[in-house]
């Protein structure tokens, strides 16, 4: 046995959270006179200094448009933008840069697939299969295309612990199913879905699978070839990068077969009024001037993650999650929504007589930032018969001390309301 990996002392030695915290300028702030305790990481993560600097450096030194200028700055900007694509490709182990399409975020990536793939593959009576725990951004794009094509949107139910009912998933797969689109990690409950099993099963019917990876990319090691998924969507801002930049990974063969999503500059190879030929992958799907600084910032964020190591981050966050789960048991009347066996560092909870918004306002005065509301998963809230939850979501820079601050804050809320 390798003692080094099991000794708790070593765990602390190899993961220096205080050093990591110093990389994030925003964490030094005070809110309502209290030290900021930022536990809203599933909504967006804070940015390390290196990402902020990379974005500034781009604007200070090489800002220009990509893929068309012959001047030096344009060449450097193009190089930096395309290098960022390579960094993303390596991070998720895609086979080629052609499979990495920059989008505005997960939402745009899913819309791209729904509209482009749906346009040529869905017809009347066909089915799209999603789950009861999807974010609205993996529901509404499919509703739109299904309505247009007279196709059906089918939903796999979840059990009381907030886990996908796999047998139901199997039952709903059939020859009319044209695509399965499923969330890897639930943003509301933290449930980690058995995506490998889902993909293998869907593939046995010849059905492609899209993974909404918005809440997975920052917590789990992602290898799209090992997962064998057909599409993988994620947002830069949830993995310590800028907002407004995201990625759609798509299997090259599938992307080749799909029509463009938006028309404009950069996605064309030749335009006449009679006919336009489209640019090759990935540019076919990147109309208009892209978010160049965003891509550069995202690549920098991925390098930051690589420096620490995603597996180390995963293990540390699991430790924080377990500590939070047991600490929250001390809070009277707190009920955790979502008790999946496989969970990422998200805890959603409710109280019988205290609304999440009141909890959120009180915690804010303790310097604690949590999310309250339906988290853009209204069908999931309906499933649990609740209007909303309070959600604490942890990231690589959160500490056990912050969990204690949360627990104390909640105890204060109880004093006022009970």
């Amino acid at each position: 046995m390798n003692l080094k990996t099991v000794s708790p002392k070593n765990k602390i030695d190899t993961y220096d959270v205080e050093k990591i915290r110093r990389d994030f300028p925003v964490l030094l702030q005070k809110v309502h006179g209290q030290k900021l305790c930022y536990l809203d990481n599933a909504a967006t993560t804070q940015k390390p200094r290196s990402v902020i600097d990379a974005v500034s450096r781009y604007y200070e030194t090489i800002n220009s448009n990509v893929h068309r200028g012959v001047h030096s700055l344009s060449e450097m900007a193009t190089q930096a933008y395309e290098d960022s694509r390579t960094t993303v490709k390596n991070f998720i182990n895609a086979a080629s840069e052609k499979e990495i399409i920059f989008t505005r975020g997960t939402t745009e990536a899913i819309n791209l697939v729904a509209h482009s793939y749906g346009k040529i593959n869905l017809k009347e009576g066909d089915e799209v299969l999603i789950t009861n725990m999807e974010h609205h951004s993996n529901i509404v794009p499919w509703q739109l295309i299904c309505e247009e094509k007279n196709a059906k949107l089918k939903v796999v139910p979840v059990n009381n612990d907030g886990e996908l009912i796999f047998e139901e998933f199997e039952k709903q797969l059939n020859e009319r199913t044209k695509i399965v689109s499923v969330v890897y990690v639930s943003n509301s409950l933290g449930t980690i879905n058995p995506v490998k099993k889902i993909i293998d099963k869907a593939h046995s019917f010849g059905i492609p699978v899209l993974l909404d990876g918005a809440q997975a990319i920052q917590h789990l090691k992602i290898d799209v070839q090992e997962l064998d998924c057909d599409f993988f969507a994620f947002s830069g801002h949830k993995i310590y990068g800028p907002t407004g930049i995201g990625v759609l990974y798509g299997r090259e063969k599938l992307l080749e077969s799909m029509p463009p999503y938006m028309g404009g500059g950069d996605m064309i190879s030749k335009v006449t009024f009679e006919k336009t030929t489209y640019n090759e992958l990935p540019h076919k799907f990147e109309a208009g001037t892209p978010h160049i600084s965003g891509a550069i910032g995202l690549a920098e964020a991925l390098r930051y993650i690589n420096k620490i190591g995603i597996k180390k981050i995963s293990a540390y966050e699991k430790e924080i999650l377990n500590y939070a789960a047991s600490s929250l048991l001390q809070v009277n009347g707190l009920k955790v929504i979502g008790q999946a066996k496989e969970k990422s560092s998200v805890i959603s909870f409710v109280f019988d007589n205290i609304h999440p918004h009141d909890v959120g306002t009180f915690l804010d005065f303790e310097g604690i930032a949590v999310r309250t509301g339906h988290h853009c998963t209204q069908p999931l809230m309906d499933r649990f018969n609740i209007p909303a939850t309070t959600r604490a979501s942890f990231a690589l820079y959160n500490t056990k001390e912050e969990v204690d601050i949360l627990v104390n804050g909640l105890k204060k809320v109880l004093e006022v309301f009970n």
Partner: protein, 149 residues
Amino acid sequence: MNDELRELYQQVILDHNKSPRNFRVIEHANHHSEGYNPLCGDRIDVFIDVEEGIVKDISFQGSGCAISKASASLMSSTVKGKTVDEAEKLFEKFHSLITGKADGDPEELGKLAVFAGVRDFPARVKCASLAWHTMINALKKEKDVVTTE
């Protein structure tokens, strides 16, 4: 508790949250509307019985935060017995108070003045006004019917 927070969550509000008044359904109410706050998922049903231009009875059902529940509760007890016109005018005054446009006349607003603290919490204005918007909508619905008859 912090002063600003104490100003928002006054004892009256906490009390109405815990035991809301008129928290029931009025069977066969002649006015009804459903209010919904898409931001937080809160829902409210307001039932009103209007007779000869007077709010004879008003009640509500639904789920919401302390601010929205207390607001619905205090609204119902304040508006009961008033004319429809008075109820509508009261809403305008209440709205000015919670958005900080006017201090509001304590005599006119009565207990509703406890919501003055909402002005410092822009995200919570919708919580305080949801029941009122729903009531106004319920009253208007009937008016529409009246004008078409």
